[in-house]
């Protein structure tokens, strides 16, 4: 039901340029909307002034009628996306804060991933839900979760994220092109971060393929979103001390690129998981479990840097800073293994 339509848009084969994570998201949306007229954006305030996080600047003007503000009712507008996706469109939904995802848990857990299955494979469900999460913004307890692991336990759903501008462009485009429902997590603390982005059709990511952000032979760090960015800074710092850190951004949390991490671990023997979430029930815990089940050899027990288990994210700025893993904390943890 969802074959790629002919499009007037020429193939994109741009060079690598520096852009912000926000611009990379914007470019991915624009390029997919240009290449496929079935792509529509919906969400709260998405068409107003570029959207709350300015990721949609220029899109309503470039694609009239294809960027629509919804009422505040996540469960219903994500359920609508299912109806749109099985009748010829490829909706992209923006969820303003990941903390709002639980209001749409029925659509995300019960409907999107189950629909194709329980109808005996009658259709595909090409829906992308972009969800903006993460701390450091002083947004308080109900606007700061990454939410990245809340939905990794559901067959039928794809869960993705990106810790760099280049990743955001490549993964978001892949998500929109994918035939199955994808939940794509962005981090609002990264929007202003700059990095190289290859704006090209052949830069589109492969679903399930993680990426090595920095190569190293001493310790493997696996980190997502803002933590990937901080892990890279920590790796730079540690390089000055002669510690070579490999930093992996898995990007896809379901399916997870276990072979990529396993082969890195074979070389380094040491693993640090850095996650902006509690460890219980997250991709980090699942990764360590799956490596263990696969017989991976750890030269030292793996270490985890994450959110504390006994407190929630507070507003008070110095306290928020204190609980979200810092570059220094990540570096110190790696030093314990070296």
């Amino acid at each position: 039901m969802s074959t790629q339509l002919e499009s007037d848009a020429p193939p994109l084969a741009g060079d690598t340029t520096e852009m912000t994570y926000r611009e990379a998201v914007n470019a991915a949306l624009a390029d997919e909307m240009a290449s496929d007229p079935r792509v529509y954006l919906l969400g709260e305030d998405v068409a107003n002034d570029g959207g709350v996080f300015k990721t949609n600047v220029g899109l309503p003007e470039a694609f009239p009628g294809r960027v629509t503000n919804t009422p505040i009712c996540e469960n219903t507008f994500i359920g609508m996306a299912l109806g749109m996706s099985i009748t010829g469109l490829r909706p992209v939904i923006e969820v303003m804060f990941s903390d709002f995802l639980p209001t749409a848990a029925d659509a995300i857990i019960e409907e999107l991933p189950k629909f194709r299955f329980m109808t005996g494979g009658q259709c595909s469900v090409p829906v992308t839900v972009r969800s903006i999460g993460g701390g450091t913004g002083r947004f308080g307890t109900q606007h700061s979760a990454t939410g990245e692991s809340w939905f990794i336990a559901f067959p039928g759903l794809i869960v993705a994220s990106a810790g760099t501008p280049g990743g955001a462009y490549a993964v978001l485009r892949a998500a929109i092109r994918h035939e199955d429902p994808v939940l794509f997590f962005e981090h609002k603390g990264l929007y202003a971060r700059k990095g190289p982005v290859r704006r090209s059709d052949d830069a589109v990511a492969r679903v399930g393929q993680g990426t090595v952000l920095r190569s190293g032979s001493d310790v493997t760090i696996v980190a997502t979103l803002l933590m990937a960015d901080r892990a890279l800074q920590a790796a730079e710092e540690l390089a000055g001390e002669g510690i070579a850190v490999e930093v992996i951004d898995p990007q896809w949390l379901r399916p997870f690129d276990l072979p990529l991490v396993a082969s890195s671990l074979e070389r380094t023997g040491r693993l640090v998981v850095v996650e902006e979430q509690v460890h219980a029930g997250g991709w980090g815990a699942t990764l360590i479990s799956n490596l263990t089940l696969a017989g991976a050899t750890f030269e030292a027990p793996p270490l985890v840097v994450g959110l504390p288990d006994d407190v929630l994210i507070p507003y008070s700025p110095s306290l928020e800073d204190a609980i979200i893993p810092s570059v220094g904390q990540i570096a110190d943890t790696v030093r314990l293994l070296s």
Partner: protein, 320 residues
């Protein structure tokens, strides 16, 4: 809108098909060929037949876990329905979905949902999709009285009204949300009143009268097709059986079921067809026998369907 004689005879037959299908499901349950749970619709047939007969082939609809009648009326083959109930890969959902998920996308039947209220946003999305693509297709979405207390009902009515989407919301008010009488959970007797909150037409319809259902839904469908937006129709109806297979319906006051049986939609239409000389009692009886034969032989054929393999079922999880 006055239906032709032929049309009304066909409605009578379609209601009989649904009734005898549901009775057969009960039998197959006792034989162990249908397992788990079923939510049967005996007593509510006029809603399915009257409403769905207003649609074009390219229109959309979503239904609920009490959806056998709607699926049959939409033209899902009876054998595929029986086979689905028996978990066979010849079923309309390859035996994966079972009783609560009768779906046939080729017929515009965009899903049957086992979560109360879940079908409304999906139907709304389909109708909105039609609008975006410049089509005048409409969507019907069926829900029960219980669904009018869940968020998606209100959220979907709100968006449909705000954006003038071509959708018809049909509430089958059978007086009970599962085992609980409506009045214990809801401050209204007439759920059509809820339309006022969304500035759309709200119409109370005798859900036992197939002509009345057809006329009301036809008006609402025409309104949606013309781009004038949604309607909320409340069908006053009754299920003759309990909520689901294990429910004997003992919470119903004495005499209530008998009173509603007097308003059996098949009996009502049958009496009228007989009194006007359109279809005699003998002809009705012959038709019943014929439909019973069809139901029995179709169920027998469905029993021969293959059970799906785990490999088959696994391939339905992801499209890519």
């Amino acid at each position: 809108v006055t239906a032709t004689v032929e049309t009304r005879i066909s409605w009578y037959r379609r209601m009989l098909e649904i009734r005898l299908f549901e009775e057969k499901v009960q039998e197959l349950f006792m034989e162990g060929l249908v397992q788990g749970t079923t939510h049967l619709c005996q007593g509510q047939e006029a809603v399915s037949v009257g409403a769905i007969s207003t649609l074009r082939d390219d229109d959309y609809m979503t239904i609920t876990y009490r959806g056998h009648g709607h699926a049959l009326m939409r033209g899902v083959p009876m054998e595929a329905c029986f086979a689905e109930l028996m978990g066979r890969s010849s079923g309309c959902c390859k035996g994966v979905g079972g009783s609560m998920h009768f779906t046939d996308l080729d017929k515009g039947l965009l899903g049957a949902f086992a979560i109360v209220g879940a079908g409304l946003p999906v139907a709304l999305g389909a109708a909105y999709s039609a609008k975006l693509q410049g089509s005048d297709r409409v969507a019907l979405t069926f829900c029960g009285d219980g669904a009018t207390n869940i968020g998606t009902f209100h959220e979907a009515l709100n968006i449909a009204a705000a954006w003038k989407v071509g959708i018809v919301f049909i509430v089958e008010n059978n007086l009970y949300g599962e085992y609980t009488p409506l009045r214990e959970t809801t401050p209204l007797d007439d759920l059509a009143e809820r339309a006022k909150a969304y500035a759309i037409p709200g119409v109370i319809v005798d859900g036992q009268d197939v002509d009345a259902v057809h006329a009301a839904v036809a008006t609402a469908v025409a309104r949606g097709r013309a781009g004038d937006g949604p309607s909320l129709l409340e069908m006053k109806t009754y299920r003759f059986r309990g909520h689901s297979r294990t429910d004997p319906g003992k919470y119903r006051p004495e005499g209530e079921l008998d009173r509603w049986r007097e308003r059996d939609p098949i009996v009502l239409l049958g009496a009228e067809l007989a009194s006007t000389g359109t279809l005699s009692a003998d002809a009705q009886s012959a038709m019943r026998d014929e439909v019973q034969g069809l139901v029995d032989s179709t169920a027998d054929r469905a029993k021969e369907g293959p059970v799906p393999t785990m490999e088959e079922v696994r391939s339905y999880v992801y499209a890519a």
